[in-house]
Amino acid sequence: MVVRGQVIADNLVEIGGRGGELRFLTPDANAYLNVLPLADPGRLRDLYQVSFEEILDYLQELGRRLDFDGNPYLQEACGLSYLTAPTTPPLIDFTYRRLSGFCTRDRLREIAEHAVGVEYLEGWVPIELTSGATVQIRCFGSRAVHIVAGNSPIISLLTIVRNALLRSDAIIKAPSNDPFTALAIARTMCDMAPDHPITRHLAVAYWKGGDVGFEERLYQPHNVEKIVAWGGFASVKHVTRYIQPGLELISLDPKRSASVIGEQAFDSEDEMSEAAIRLATDIGSVNQAGCVNARVIYAITGTDDAGLAKANAFGQLVYDAMLGLPSCVSTKPKRYDLSLKESVDAVRLDGDWYHVIGGRDDEGAIIVSQLPEPVPFSAALNDRTANIVPVDTVDEVLAAVNAWTQTVGVYPESLKDELKGILPLYGAQRLVSLGYAAASAGSNCGRQDAIEPMRRMGKWIVNEIATPDKVPPMWAL
């Protein structure tokens, strides 16, 4: 546990990590309930002695120290993550080695500028109103609990970066499938600048999610103003019980992603191969552990015999391409989901409605529907298992997009241009060029799940200035 610059290793309790391969000790969060939250919000003042450029200096230096080969905390966290993460060692290694590069100055400035606006972070931005009044607007930091997801280590770093850029105070609740990354970064910060305000406004702790006795006491408006919750349906639903006036939920809740392959992709072998490698990347990257990964793919091949033949041939290309992805991008899954395997095997046996390619060796599978309908278990697709659904028209795709749809990868780009005005109406939240679903690593200008989490993590304060000579006063009416 790290609390505001101090590493704590007392009052240890034993915890079982996700996947059951590792048990670890962590300080009992109950014993630190009084120091975890920033009780006096006035203590955020020290962050306002630091300029934006100095914040960038800090994060840039942090990035330098997150160089994997020189950072024993990251090396240790990476090794332990092999046992808890949903992905495999080559993928974990690759992500850990990318952490350092996330903190480049230009990128950090880009995030702050496009997600919030640096001038709103640095001072009061004036607006002259027609009423004659002037308003000044400034984005202040807030105190938040971040219940982060553990499907990628980058989420912990992203949270720390966002917190620093916003001059906020963060308590990170480490996830059971990645209890180590946020802690390793926080320890690096403690070594680097233990008394720096950015270090002093970060706490990282682990407690078992759903510990109502503990959470009820921590999640109070006098402790925190916001809860940023990533995660699955049950965990986000659980957090809603604590929401009350004065305590806001920023919900990065469960999402599914889809793809649309236009009929042009089936015009030539070259086009088909291009679409196949792109789609394989969207399915296979990070072993499909992300919400951004493609799972159900609508292919506008038509549903007559010729159309199904195209879809089946395309499925084979996608499967072959998936197996050929670089090992830092995709590997055989860590542990193929047993109940998913039962479902895949069952439709393989039936044979009439679904054509299953691969999957016998737990390596992942491409299931091509032989009717314009996803498999009954489409919500459970995981571990490099995707479902290609042939359709006749793009309208059938729209019916499948809903509030749970996050990323939609489209090929070719011209089809995306056609769809970009319509898909959002149905719920799609992010449109990407096919093959780039997992490429942006959370820095897509601060938009995420069709909300602006960074803007919402700040507090937007307005200072209204009116004088009787410019604004007719109510007292004189």
Binding site: R256, S343, A346, L349, D350, D352, E373, P376, W404
Partner: protein, 243 residues
């Protein structure tokens, strides 16, 4: 004493009769004999059914199981629950019961090719039609996950199952074990629906016959009606639409 083969045949065909409806006899069989009887019984069943149940044949081919030489050989042939719901959901949602019947055919030896399901307007209607015209008595799952399982058990299988289970329920507590010919004559209290097609409710017909002796005045249910499979399937739509 009858030959081993004929004993196996009797145990597989009429297990309750083979053990003379006695829990003591069931539990008195020696381990060696039990092992060989089970192995021979499974081998007999596999030989009888392999080429008659299409899904079994495909599974056996897929798993490269050509014959049962030891008990563990049967493990890869056990159907997972997903096999009973591997049809596209739209077949139910759009009342495409002819196609659903063709799907069901792959799980049973009963010939369904002559069954007319035209005009069926729901799951209850479809299962009712199958009840009326075939020896299959489908048992459904609750359907609350969004997909409803259909297990095509025949009347013979259901009889065999119920009257075998009755031995374990009745005999150890000193009750006479009922048979179709000699039911008990007791009051029956079941705090749920009178009937239904789910795996939980299907045995109610047996309880009424075997325990209450078919006397309706002795059969007491919380709800005197049949539970609708259509109703059970529809809330599953919420499950189907969740991420």
């Amino acid at each position: 004493m009858a030959s081993l083969d004929s004993q196996v045949d009797q145990m597989v065909t009429d297990p309750a009769g083979y053990f003379h409806r006695s829990a003591t006899q069931i539990h008195s069989i020696s381990r060696d004999k039990q092992d060989i009887m089970q192995l021979l019984g499974l081998r007999l069943r596999f030989e009888q059914l392999r080429d008659r149940v299409p899904i079994l044949k495909k599974l056996a081919d897929e798993q490269r199981v050509g014959e049962i030489t030891e008990l563990d050989d049967v493990v890869p042939l056990l159907f997972s629950h997903t096999v009973y719901k591997s049809y596209p959901v739209s077949l139910l949602e759009q009342n495409r019961f002819a196609q659903l019947t063709r799907w069901l055919q792959k799980l049973t030896t009963v010939d369904l090719s002559e069954l007319d399901v035209s005009g069926c307007d729901g799951v209850d209607d479809w299962i009712g039609r199958i009840d009326a015209h075939t020896p299959i008595r489908i048992r459904t799952s609750s359907g609350t996950s969004g997909q409803m399982s259909f297990i095509p058990r025949t009347v013979r299988e259901a009889d065999r199952h119920f009257y075998s289970m009755a031995i374990g329920t009745c005999d150890p507590v000193g009750l006479r074990v009922p048979t179709p010919e000699q039911p008990l004559d007791m009051h029956l209290v079941i705090p749920t629906f009178r009937s239904g097609y789910s795996g939980v409710l299907r045995p109610n017909d047996y309880y009424r016959a075997a325990i209450a002796g078919g006397d309706e005045s002795k059969a007491h249910f919380l709800y005197p009606s049949q539970q609708s499979a259509d109703l059970m399937f529809s809330p599953g739509a919420c499950g189907r639409r969740r991420p």
